[in-house]
């Protein structure tokens, strides 16, 4: 069955078509949500919310782009909004901890490449991190990223380039050691 038929059947209220559409796209949606959220519970929440919204709004899908692209637009919106809320919540908690004089201990052992890279990716500005994760880790094209994030393809390329540069800069002190 082609995608257009599937969409028409979902619009007509066909439950098995809904499941087929979900099965066709859930892996990539969940993977993207997980890569961006870094937490299974949040990734599941975001994935569920993405499909709930998609089924509700399917009537507004005009077919200008592929359904997967449209779904990834919803996914990134849901994930980035959700992460902003979590961040806001953490900031409040951090304020409370600071008021209580609670501070985290410093890491004692020297972190390895993966840990350092993870920290460096986490520290990227949200826009850079999103593009880096989508392109370099999940394999989205710049065109797909541009549509999903509502930016020009050139902007996506520029942000990726800056993200990589920032990562190289953050990890420069380990460079010689790793290559050796």
């Amino acid at each position: 069955m082609d995608e257009r038929d599937l969409i028409n059947r979902v619009r007509a209220g066909d439950g098995s078509a809904e499941r087929a559409l979900y099965d066709a796209h859930v892996d990539r949606v969940y993977r993207l949500a997980y890569r961006l959220a870094g937490d299974d519970a949040l990734a599941q929440d975001f994935t569920q919310e993405t499909f709930i919204r998609a089924f509700e709004k399917l009537d507004t899908f005009r077919g200008d782009s592929a359904l997967s692209t449209w779904l990834h637009t919803i996914t990134t919106t849901v994930v980035l909004n959700g992460l902003r809320k979590v961040k806001r919540f953490h900031r409040r908690e951090a304020d409370l901890e600071a008021a209580d004089g609670v501070t985290g201990g410093r890491r004692e052992s020297e972190p390895d490449l993966k840990v350092r890279l993870r920290e460096a990716i986490d520290a990227l500005p949200q826009g850079y991190r999103t593009v880096f994760v989508m392109h370099d880790i999940e394999g989205f094209t710049h065109e797909e990223i541009g549509v999903a994030l509502g930016v020009e393809t050139g902007t996506s390329k520029a942000q990726l380039s800056r993200a990589r540069a920032k990562l190289r800069e953050s990890l420069a002190d380990f460079r010689g050691e790793w290559i050796a």
């Binding site: 979900y22 929440d45 709930i52 994760v133």
Partner: protein
């Protein structure tokens, strides 16, 4: 030449290492599908959702309006008329803020469990619980869907508010399981009107 090789090697190392960033576990298809189905069955159509949200705001507003107009009228002032235009905005802000803050709180609660940071939750849950109970006692709870949502939220917030700081990880896991089983977060999200939500970061009510 050596520099180019080193650069390429470094890039490859970075790319390989990047693949280990937030590696997803296998997609929990059936679990998520069950919750999506349950949520869609319970979730009212968009026009009905807007209607419910508007009704809830209106009803809460009427309740608050009565209190404020009685206070402002004072003893011996007869025939005072509530300022329905101004108070409507206050009611909308109050109700929307409550739902939005509770969603943010519960989302953060779930996210922070893994980090074992649960100490700040009981106090915040108590603040939100007070508001939940005010709403449950208001005409807003006359609507069965809104009442069911408020009762779900009350139950979750009671459990969180009773957690003992730093010693209740297992309890916290049970609370989140309960939230998942009853689809609390999807129901809460569906009750929040779309669009910008007025945000207030301090105070509970």
């Amino acid at each position: 030449m050596m520099m180019d090789n080193d650069e390429a090697k470094f890039e490859r190392l970075l790319q390989d290492a990047a693949k280990t960033y937030n590696v997803p576990r296998p997609t929990p298809r059936e679990e998520m599908w069950a919750r999506i189905k349950a949520s869609r069955v319970r979730r009212p159509q968009p026009w009905l959702r807007w209607g419910l949200a508007a009704a809830a705001v209106l009803l809460v507003g009427i309740g608050i309006g009565r209190v404020t107009s009685n206070q402002s009228a004072g003893p011996g002032t007869a025939g005072a008329t509530p300022d329905t235009t101004g108070s409507a905005l206050v009611y909308r802000v109050a109700a929307t803020q409550y739902l939005s803050r509770t969603e943010t709180f519960l989302t953060g609660f779930r996210a922070d469990l893994r980090a074992g940071r649960v100490d700040a939750f009981p106090g915040q849950a108590r603040d939100l619980l007070a508001t939940s109970r005010l709403l449950l006692d208001s005409p807003a709870a006359d609507d069965p869907r809104m009442r069911a949502l408020l009762e779900d939220l009350e139950l979750v917030l009671v459990q969180i508010s009773q957690m003992e700081a730093g010693r209740d990880r297992r309890n916290a896991d049970l609370i989140t399981q309960d939230m998942d089983q009853r689809n609390v977060l999807p129901k809460l999200r569906s009750a929040i009107p779309a669009g910008p939500v007025p945000v207030r970061t301090q105070g509970a009510t």
